[in-house]
Amino acid sequence: MQENAIFYLVFAVQLLLLSYYIPRLVMGRVERTLRDHPPETYPKMYPLPRENYEQGNRRYRSMNLVILALGIALLTAIGIWDRNSEGPVLETIPVIFFLVQMLPMILLEVSEWSYYRQMRQADRKTKRSAVLRPRKLTDIVSSRLLVAAAVLIAASIGVDLYVNQHIPDFALGMGKGTFLRTVNMLVVNALFAFIIGWNIYGKRLDPHINENDRVRQMQLTVRSMVIMSIVFSVFMIIREGTDDLGVDQYQPVLMSIYVQVIAYFSIVSRLNSLNKDPIDYDVYKEDAPATTQGC
């Protein structure tokens, strides 16, 4: 089946992107940081001994290798199953495997929280500073992008309503599927909004970071959240479109492309941007003047 052949290709790219390319980027960044900005020169960046970070990096690599092997085994199993049976691949496979592939990244995020907590606990400086200016969402991300995200949320709900208008009413004039997808759309976007709000107004995680770098990281995170919202809306519109056009056998392919785009915008573009324009590491030196810390 042609759609299954395309799926193998797309799923193989998903495996390589999430379990090989992204881990390589992350580990490369950690190794480069440890090499170019060692604990001896930048002690404030390392609340724990160097070995802890090297061990964490090795653990992250091993987890990704195991998941990559599992993915190759899964792809082979699907290929064997495909030879012996008719019908498309299950739509949920790319998403379920995506969640498995994201596990090391989630663990990394959790350990990052603990890393910042240790950094704050180790922070001995008594002087703190903040910018006496309100931060607004539109200072962090362009209003055009925000409008585009809002319009696409409305468009995706509108398309769903239009495509499924023949289905009997369930709630608020919608069919049951449309209602659930609308709730799903709103909940996912509420989560994005929460993450955005927390990034802009929440607690300063890194007590040493330069304010300009902090705002830049904020911009990267908020922008990726807005783009993810746009991608989610576009995905929902295309999904309803493929349903309506009777080409829903391509949905596993679509689903895999969707999770890859999400991974790209949430991780790859952020890391590339940070690698291209590095942060000010001088604030992590032992004798960093107080005025450059978080000003």
Binding site: K127, S129, A130, V131, L132, R133, R204, C295
Partner: protein, 124 residues
């Protein structure tokens, strides 16, 4: 502009915030109508309790140095520069000094003044 706090400073944190905002207004680093960060933002950025910042803002608002315009946020008061020079603490100290001096001249003892003052304050 940046605002600084020093945890080791004997002055309370809210007083450090008030002094710096008033200094910024007097030094024209902050002008009438300039927006100020929200209580939550400033507290999170400084790593202090939001009640500390809220107290500083409340006292600055009482002194008409800043004003809160509902959901739009907090701004520097139009007469902030003039009002920044008014120090209610100095005024209270001066008035109390005058009153205590008058009591002493009338022969009232210090302990009687203290008891009366405490009774009045506790009754409020």
């Amino acid at each position: 502009m940046n605002i600084f706090i020093d945890i080791d400073d004997p002055r309370p944190l809210f007083a450090q915030l008030i002094d710096q905002i008033k200094d910024a207004v007097r030094g024209e680093k902050l002008g009438p109508g300039d927006p100020l960060p929200s209580i939550r933002q400033l507290a999170n950025d400084l790593g202090v309790n939001s009640k500390t910042v809220a107290k500083a803002y409340r006292l600055l608002e009482r002194d008409s140095v800043i004003q809160t315009r509902g959901y739009r946020g907090t701004f520097v008061h139009p007469n902030a520069k003039t009002n920044s020079d008014v120090d209610l603490n100095d005024w209270v100290t001066e008035k109390l000094n005058e009153t205590i001096a008058a009591f002493r001249d009338s022969g009232v003892t210090d302990s009687e003044i203290r008891i009366a003052f405490n009774q009045l304050m506790n009754a409020r």
